[in-house]
Amino acid sequence: MSNTVVVISAGVGTPSSSHLLGEQLGKATQRVLAAAGRPIEVQHVELRTLASDLAHQLVTHVPSPALTDVYGAVGRAVGVIVVSPVFNASYSGLFKLFFDLMDEGVMAGRPVLLSATGGTARHSLVIDTAILPLFHYLKALISPVGVFAATADWGDSTSQLSSRIESAAREFGQLVAERPGTPMQDEFSTEIDFADLLRGA
């Protein structure tokens, strides 16, 4: 049984505030679950390193070995933390591409914590207006508290970023503990009864 939470961040800079937020959410989730007696591993995926692989898959339909590994890891994760920078009032194209090219059903029923970063707090509704519908469509199990971090939040104690991260991690950790994502079944190990296919089942 996997005990890995995968953090997908779509930040493009190095260092990137999306990656930083993902790291903090991952650590906070680890603490919450360790305290509940369920230690987890956290695997970080930075989509910027997979950008050309994703572009190639878009036009050739074939995932690179690196992408195959990442999609496999998501398919086994007990939970997924996603972080996108805000581009033009929505998630970035790179972020969308990763989920567009994912096999159907991988996110279904899998706990997911939604988060985003942006230049100003005026973008903070992007989680509700853009990211939430995407993960509803993917039938993910969406954690009730997301985190938006504006640039200024990182230096402003009144932004309560740390406590917002803690509270998001608490809700997400509880979801992972109670309803962990289950490994995707290997499509080649599934045994279909051909008689069912013949009957049109």
Partner: protein, 387 residues
């Protein structure tokens, strides 16, 4: 081991000259390629079927019938026959005629077709792809095997008292392969019937191809056709050869970079590493091709795609000359350490012999004539008929 070529019949601009062959030129090129394939000693020529530009082969049996008249020995096959959008009755009729004209040198590879708009043009829906493949093929099998067919299904008008004309040659239907890149249902279908399974082995890593083939082999055994390593497996593949590997790389790169499907994607070097594409010397093609066996086990048919992406006919014919030259080496390699119980791909002759052996076997098991009625047990009305 059968070694041959398959073509999808794309009409693509040659990126090095900007010249686009006409449909007429490509159709005649297909015939030239097929006859050359026989001349260099290949075993199989398989032709695609498409119903939309930029492809020409909308009527594969017309083309293959013409090729049959121009050749003597090579097996004519398809890559693939659209079992989804074609009427199975018409497939049964067309390929029965072709089988007679070609003296049995015919088999088929079933495929679904992945172009959404083509389905509605034939009154179908791509979302029913698997169901269509399952129902249509089940009917096709009966049409080729039962003298009178009563049938009712979901996708086609019912048949009452239908008899296929002409019946398959020698009462033996053409052997069928099922091609699929990643649908386990199709591997299952091939295994269920004891038919062949073909993986195109062009776009995906061989590790993926292995998963599909292993599923088919496992289920072949499950359905009682024999041990997994006796299942009938075919693979695709592609190469571009020149005596000097640098020349091959230099000459093929512009075609690769602009190729339909994978062009404008990964670099040729990445693609060669991640997929079975080999661009290099004859020796490199031999080594790479013989390595497929390590992934999927001893198999029965290897087909190469060599005429796509705008390659001019002259170049394709040169590729066939080179393939002919390495053919003895490839055959020797495939034969090496091949267990005796691994069968060859069925041919018309082997299927006729098997049917004959089966008939003799049944005669030995039961009395030829019933003591009371004086009738042979084989005089009974056909399976599809009502007494």
């Amino acid at each position: 081991m059968q070694i041959g070529i398959f073509t999808v019949g794309d009409i693509t601009t040659d990126p090095t000259t900007g010249a686009t062959p006409t449909e007429h030129e490509r159709i005649k090129a297909a015939v030239a390629i097929a006859t050359k394939a026989e001349e260099v000693g290949l075993d199989v020529f398989a032709h695609g079927e498409h119903h939309n530009p930029p492809f020409h082969p909308s009527s594969p049996t017309t083309l293959l019938g013409y090729v049959a008249a121009k050749t003597d020995r090579i097996i004519l096959s398809t890559a693939t026959t659209l079992i989804t959008t074609n009427d199975p009755v018409k497939i049964a009729e067309d390929y029965s005629v072709l089988q007679h004209l070609a003296e049995g040198r015919v088999d088929l590879m079933m495929g679904r077709g992945n172009t959404g708009p083509v389905y509605p043009w034939f009154g179908k829906d791509i979302r029913d792809g698997i169901s269509l493949a399952v129902e249509n093929y089940a009917l096709l099998r009966r049409l080729w095997r039962e003298p009178v067919v009563d049938w009712e299904g979901k996708f086609r008008t019912p048949l009452q008292g239908f008899t296929l004309a002409p019946q398959p040659m020698d009462g033996v239907p053409p052997f069928v392969w099922h091609g699929s890149i990643r649908s386990p249902e199709i591997a299952e279908q091939a295994a269920f019937y004891g038919d062949g399974f073909f993986h195109n082995n062009i776009f995906w890593p061989i590790t993926h191809t292995r998963q599909m083939v292993n599923l088919y082999r496992r289920r072949w055994e499950h359905y009682g056709h024999g041990p997994a390593d006796t299942a009938i497996v075919g693979l695709g593949g592609q190469f571009f050869m020149r005596r000097n590997s640098q020349d091959a790389v230099r000459e093929f790169r512009p075609y690769f970079d602009e190729a339909p499907v994978y062009g404008h994607g990964p670099s040729m070097e990445d693609f060669m590493q991640q997929t079975p594409l080999t661009v290099g010397s004859p020796q490199q093609v031999i080594e790479r091709t013989l390595s497929f066996r390590d992934a999927v086990g001893d198999y029965q048919r290897q087909l190469f795609l060599i005429d796509h992406a705008g390659l001019p006919l002259k170049t394709v014919l040169e590729q066939l000359d080179l393939l002919g030259e390495i053919l003895p080496e490839l055959r020797k390699g495939f034969d090496q350490n091949r267990p005796a119980h691994v069968p060859e791909a069925p041919t018309h002759a082997s299927l006729v012999a098997a049917a004959e052996a089966d008939r003799v076997h049944r005669d030995e098991l039961v009395a030829a004539v019933d003591d009371v009625t004086g009738r042979s047990p084989y005089d009974t009305v056909g399976a599809g008929e009502k007494a």
